[in-house]
């Protein structure tokens, strides 16, 4: 579902490197408004690196990343804040603040950026928790929640300021198939009902088939993109044997043979 194909994120001639070690070499792609866009690839191919650059944690070695037309790496101060308010990030580990309750985690950005009354902030936070199916957990500490619940709470926190782009880093990693499927349905529901654009980093195939409108596939051997498109199309029709191998869960020797 690419909507009207209006790009909300543009990655232009982007290169990522840690010191002299180039991880991603000169890639370009676009994410369209309202779609669920998945970045996938094998372990160590640079998926999370790309994501961390997209959310402004690292500066690109070369190229630009434009979020809603604004270069996130070149921004600072108020301009950076303006961009950051448009995005929400749910980290692989959840990254909930361990010293705060779930409600306090959700209220944090509301307290910092809005002049809402405490009651209003509580209500908004509770509504977000309801959206992710965590009603009743608001006064628990993160350590009292299971892994899947922590990921959902992180998603709720990322949505606190109603961003229109949500970045999810390995949302299904370490979850059992049922919890993982529930999270996939949640992502789809939020994408369709709230028109949120999702950028998801994952290599969980069932999730990819369920949620992805479009994927890009990274490969560490070429340090770049080896395929772009719908996951089912890539699985069935890709010219690249490694891409078909990835989608069909084949080991390398079987493809070579």
């Amino acid at each position: 579902m690419s909507g009207d194909k209006e790009p909300i994120i543009r990655v232009e001639n982007f290169t990522a490197a840690y010191g002299d070690n180039v991880i991603i070499d000169n890639i370009s792609f676009e994410v369209y408004r309202g779609e669920v866009f998945v970045i996938l690839g094998g372990s160590g191919c640079g998926k999370s690196t790309v994501l961390k650059h997209m959310i402004g944690l690292y500066e690109p070695a070369a190229g630009k990343i434009l979020i809603d037309g604004e270069d996130i790496a070149a921004s600072s101060g108020e301009d950076r804040l303006k961009i950051l308010k448009k995005i929400g990030v749910a980290y692989q580990s959840g990254a909930l603040f361990g010293s705060m309750t779930i409600l306090e985690n959700l209220r944090l950005s509301l307290e910092e950026y809005t002049d809402l009354s405490p009651d209003a902030m509580d209500l908004i936070s509770l509504m977000k928790l309801k959206l992710v199916g965590l009603s009743g957990s608001e006064h628990k500490m993160p350590s009292e929640l299971s892994g899947g619940m922590q990921k959902r709470a992180a998603l709720a926190r990322a949505m606190a300021l109603d961003p229109f782009i949500l970045f999810l880093d390995e949302p299904s990693a370490g979850l059992d198939p049922i919890t993982s499927a529930e999270l996939d349905q949640l992502i789809l529901r939020l994408a369709r009902s709230l028109k949120i654009t999702f950028v998801v980093v994952t290599h969980e195939l069932p999730s990819i088939y369920t949620i992805a409108d479009r994927v890009i596939m990274l490969d560490k051997r070429v340090k770049g993109i080896v395929a772009t498109g719908k996951p089912q199309d890539l699985r069935d029709h890709s010219d690249n044997p490694w891409v078909r191998q990835f989608f069909n869960r084949e080991v390398e020797s079987e493809v070579a043979a």
């Binding site: 950051l84 580990s93 990254a95 950005s109």
Partner: protein
């Protein structure tokens, strides 16, 4: 079922030079981690001695071959390929051949090329210097960021997370009170006792009180308090922030637009700036009480001791110690948080940050104490 036998004589190797000039190694028996070492050395010796253009391995006699044996065969392949020479492995049983075929010599040769060679002394010195300069730059940058954030907090008190400030104040101040009191009491006690013995020879035992008050107010009160708090709290700050870094909580704050320095460092540094001078005052008091215990045992009255203290101590002296303690507080809070925020990834990262916070804090406290000593000397304090 294979049995585990520790007998290196279960394998053998012989060599011969064939009529076509090739070197043939006949390897037989069991090649496992116990037996391969000897065969490996012999095989390498033969190959290096003869440098054959064509190496033939007769492996038909190998009846068992685990990872070590496969590594030997692969090593011989690699050696020949790197030298641009030929190798032929004959008669290796199919199940072992399959194991060997999983490794491609090209991949390993390529991987070796990527390993940087040994660096010379100039390169090492250069890299170390660059690291030190980068560290120094990062420290200055962090210090500036903290100062700016503290200044901003003074102008905008509502921006400070006062709840965190109070929690940290309790941890750094209230919870450290008993240990600071005990340490300073014992320092006062020991100092008075040790100095009373030589001073007795000159009939100057009364002046032990002067020694105690001057030493505690100017030097030991602030220093011992700072050391105790550094050990307790700088490490706690580094561990807490380091764990947050490892758990991606710092990244989460950053992407929420909340600057970690303003959000995490300012309340902690402020709490240190408030609580450490207060603890220092109590430390001074308990040091004096330690001295009092010794003075009482020497037969002096409480009134005499107090009179002697009040005549020797000045407000400037007390203030000089407190000014020091404020700077120590900034070091403890700043270094603890800085090391925490600079935590890398990995299992030992938080431990490294904690150790670093305590050590750097201690060294900086001593260094700054020395600087203050010189300044106070010239100011006549």
């Amino acid at each position: 079922m294979e049995s585990y036998v520790k007998d290196s004589n279960l394998s053998s190797i012989t060599s011969q030079v064939n009529s076509d000039g090739s070197l043939q190694l006949n390897i037989a028996g069991r090649l496992d981690s116990n037996t391969t070492g000897k065969i490996w050395r012999q095989a390498k010796n033969e190959v290096e001695k003869n440098s054959p253009r064509n190496l033939v391995i007769d492996a038909s006699g190998i009846n068992y071959c685990d990872g070590a044996g496969i590594a030997l065969l692969f090593e011989l392949q690699l050696h020949q390929q790197k030298a641009g020479k030929e190798i032929e492995i004959r008669g290796l049983a199919n199940e072992f051949q399959q194991l060997l075929d999983q490794f491609k010599a090209g991949e390993f040769i390529e991987a070796e090329v990527e390993v940087p060679g040994p660096s010379n002394i100039f390169e090492k010195v250069g890299r170390s210097t660059l690291d030190i300069l980068q560290d120094f730059k990062a420290n200055i940058s962090f210090l500036g960021e903290v100062m700016v954030s503290l200044f901003y907090a003074m102008l905008h008190p509502r921006s400070v997370r006062w709840k965190d400030f109070l929690i940290t104040s309790e941890l750094i101040g209230v919870n450290a009170f008993s240990i600071v009191a005990l340490v300073c009491f014992l320092i006062g006690l020991v100092m008075a006792f040790q100095s009373a013995i030589p001073m007795q020879q000159y009939g100057a035992q009364l002046f032990v009180a002067n020694l105690i008050v001057i030493a505690m107010f100017k030097e030991l009160g602030p220093l011992m308090t700072a050391w105790v708090v550094n050990g307790r709290s700088a490490s706690a700050f580094a561990a807490e922030l380091g764990t947050m870094k490892v758990n991606e909580e710092i990244d989460a704050l950053t992407t929420m637009g909340l600057e970690p320095v303003r959000f995490l460092v300012v309340p902690r540094v402020l709490a240190a700036l408030v609580m450490i001078p207060i603890l220092t005052i109590f430390g001074n008091l308990f040091g004096l009480i330690g001295g009092l215990v010794v003075m009482l045992s020497l037969g002096f009255s409480v009134v005499t001791y107090v009179n002697q203290i009040t005549s020797a101590a000045t407000y400037v002296m007390l203030l000089a110690g407190l000014i020091k303690s404020v700077v120590f507080a900034f070091i403890i809070g700043g270094v603890g948080c800085m090391e925490g925020l600079r935590t890398k990834t990995g299992a030992s990262a938080v431990g490294d940050s904690t150790t670093s916070a305590v050590v750097v804090g201690l060294v900086m406290i001593i260094f700054v104490d020395g600087v203050f000593g010189v300044i106070y000397y010239f100011l006549g304090i």
